[in-house]
């Protein structure tokens, strides 16, 4: 398989060795099956060792893998009759965010999500999944449309962040994100958010105010990119690895802090190794959450969402009561 990450090199070497041995045994008609079996066993052990103990930085690399399934990959596998809808009705159609309507297990839902590309050309067209204000405004328009028709909303989050550009600032990047936060809090339909890859700060959060928030096993969610944190902390972006560890950005960290509701498993080595399998797990989690949330009234949904964010924060009161 192509696209191996640096920390996967030992596995690549071992796989090549096995392949070579196999070719050699066939060519020379020698029985090396014992030797091959031994190496394959070793490969399995090594995989366990590497993938079972991924560091935060390795997870960041997996989350950013070019083959990482995108919002459209998940839509294709989870929704029937999907119709993509375009534009914010004000300025334009941001290709860094996709959205539309489809049927999830028979239920009409609205989906919005960041959209990255798979190669350089596609990524340039998608602006690497970094939205402009019109992207957030398109997402809000579609979510308010869902509210009107009583459709649940699915949000797939995978962005390095909101685009830091001149036009984005001129058109009100801050306002677009802020408005989404406020308006998502007020929607009367179930909202299920999933961080599928990179959860890049405010640009991710702008699609992230939901009744449920889940993360794929190797995704991350952070107030600042590891590179950005490293530049600020140690004046050195190459310290990103250290920053990734300091910042507590993995799905496991966020679950521990009570920020997310659950972790969606990925196949060994990451979601890109088996997109269908990942989409199935994702679908199961969404189905369960939808089933629970669709029993709630609009008012209960708003209340439920309010409480979810209201309790987040860690601090102390000097009048003696510790609070959280």
């Amino acid at each position: 398989m192509s696209g191996e990450l640096p920390f996967e090199q030992p596995l690549v070497e071992l796989r090549r060795k096995i392949a070579e041995l196999r070719a050699f045994s066939e060519e020379k008609a020698l029985d090396l099956s014992q030797e091959i079996a031994r190496l394959e066993e070793k490969l399995r052990e090594l995989e366990q060792e590497i993938y079972g103990n991924l560091t935060p930085w390795q997870k960041v690399q997996i989350a950013r893998h070019p083959g990482r399934p995108t919002t459209l990959d998940f839509i294709e596998r989870l929704l029937d009759d999907f119709v993509e809808l375009h534009g914010d009705r004000v300025f334009g159609d941001d290709p860094a965010i996709v959205g539309g309507i489809g049927k999830f297990r028979g239920i009409p839902v609205t989906v919005v999500g960041h959209q990255k590309g798979k190669d350089t050309k596609e990524n340039i067209a998608r602006n690497f999944g970094m939205p402009h204000p019109e992207g957030y405004r398109k997402a809000l328009r579609l979510m308010q449309q869902a509210d009107k028709f009583g459709r649940p909303i699915l949000c797939f989050i995978n962005t390095p962040g909101a685009y830091p550009g001149m036009a984005a600032e001129e058109r009100g990047q801050s306002e677009a994100i802020a408005r989404n936060l406020r308006e998502m809090a007020a929607l009367r339909v179930p909202i299920i958010c999933v961080v599928t890859g990179e959860g890049g700060s405010g640009g991710a959060l702008a699609l992230g105010v939901g009744n449920r928030l889940y993360m794929l096993e190797n995704s991350f969610y952070s107030v600042i990119s590891p590179e950005g944190a490293a530049a600020l902390l140690w004046k050195d972006a190459s310290q990103a690895q250290r920053a990734a560890e300091t910042m507590k950005i993995t799905a496991q960290d966020l679950l521990e802090m009570g920020v997310i509701d659950g972790i969606i498993p990925e196949p060994m080595g990451g979601a890109h190794r088996d997109v269908d399998w990942t989409a199935q797990r994702l679908g199961e989690v969404i189905a369960k959450a939808l089933d629970e949330l669709m029993r709630l009234s609009p008012e209960e949904l708003i209340e439920d969402r309010y409480e979810k964010y209201r309790r987040l924060g860690v601090f102390t009161s000097l009048v003696g009561m510790a609070d959280r």
């Binding site: 550009g165 984005a168 801050s174 802090m257 009048v319």
Partner: protein
């Protein structure tokens, strides 16, 4: 000569015993001789135009430079003093202090240092008071405290202030001055954006008035949450307001940005603000807006 004397830092209050540490050269030594005749902290140089004024004069002018109209930063207590009716302020939640949820290197020290330097426990002061008799709930950020960044305590205090304003049906006034979400509390800081904005959703639904005043600087996670959500968004002249930092944008787009980029005036021109209001006019403008929204005056 004067330039050497006052250093590069803006200083407008006498801080006994606090001296900028730097190497001394001959000019400095001469200046030191001279300085003896002038009491410490009596004069201040404008960062923008270099005009030198008496600190007292500058204070009298609401910390606005007479030379170029540069609006110096105000501390939260100073802002409250010049905005609210005298003696009307009652503080909320002064007891809340930050923890170190991530075990972040250097964070407890940073908090302690900010507390010592500012005399505040956190980067926002909230409470209620009156402006020309109109009762308001007010929150004022203080950029001296870890760049006015928003962590759990700032988010919590602002959320509680919004909730109280909702309960009491009072207008809400928030003065922002912040570099954004506080990195040292990680994703919990990010979540304060959602928390404060969700509280504003409720406030908004109740038909109540929120005036957001963006002061220098209001960027990142604060500009991308409550600060941009006013029914009326006002900025002070020259205030830096934006989502991404100038340097990041320049690196990303590989071109130089115009000088006025992300200033209050730039935002006004691009339709992102309702008003740019001079500090001297701020209190009267706020009172007028409160009156226009038929806010009840206390005692009437």
């Amino acid at each position: 000569m004067f330039k050497d004397w006052f250093g590069k830092r803006k200083r407008y209050a006498t801080l006994p015993g606090v001296q900028p540490v730097r190497r001394e050269d001959a000019a400095d030594a001469a200046a030191r001789e001279e300085r003896r005749e002038i009491p410490e902290g009596l004069l201040i140089k404008c960062d923008r135009c270099g005009t030198i004024t008496y600190v007292k004069e500058l204070d009298k002018n609401l910390k606005v430079c007479r030379g170029c109209d540069y609006h110096f930063a105000l501390s939260a207590p100073e802002r409250i003093r010049i905005t609210l009716d005298e003696g009307s302020f009652v503080e909320y939640d002064a007891d809340l202090v930050s923890e170190d949820p991530l075990g972040f290197p250097g964070y407890p020290d940073k908090l302690a240092k900010s507390q010592a330097q500012s005399g505040l426990r956190e980067a926002v002061v909230t409470g209620e008071g009156t402006i020309d008799g109109f009762a308001v709930v007010i929150g004022v950020m203080d950029s001296r405290f870890i760049m006015g960044s928003m962590g759990s305590v700032v988010g919590e205090k602002i959320t509680r202030a919004i909730e109280r304003a909702t309960e009491k049906r009072l207008p809400l006034l928030l003065f922002s001055a912040s570099g954004g979400a506080r990195m040292q509390e990680g994703v919990l800081s990010l979540m304060q954006m959602a928390k404060t904005s969700a509280a504003l959703a409720r406030f908004h639904r109740e038909g109540l008035l929120f005036i957001s005043v963006l002061t220098n600087p209001t960027t990142g996670g604060v500009s991308a949450s409550f600060a941009s959500l006013g029914d009326i968004n006002i900025a002070e002249p020259g205030a830096l307001i934006g989502f991404a930092g100038r340097r990041i944008i320049e690196q990303t787009i590989r071109q130089k940005l115009p000088d006025d980029f992300q200033t209050a005036e730039f935002l006004l021109k691009h339709g992102q603000l309702d008003l740019v209001v001079h500090r001297k006019e701020m209190r009267a403008t706020l009172a007028k807006l409160l009156d226009l929204h038929q806010v009840r005056r206390v005692g009437s």
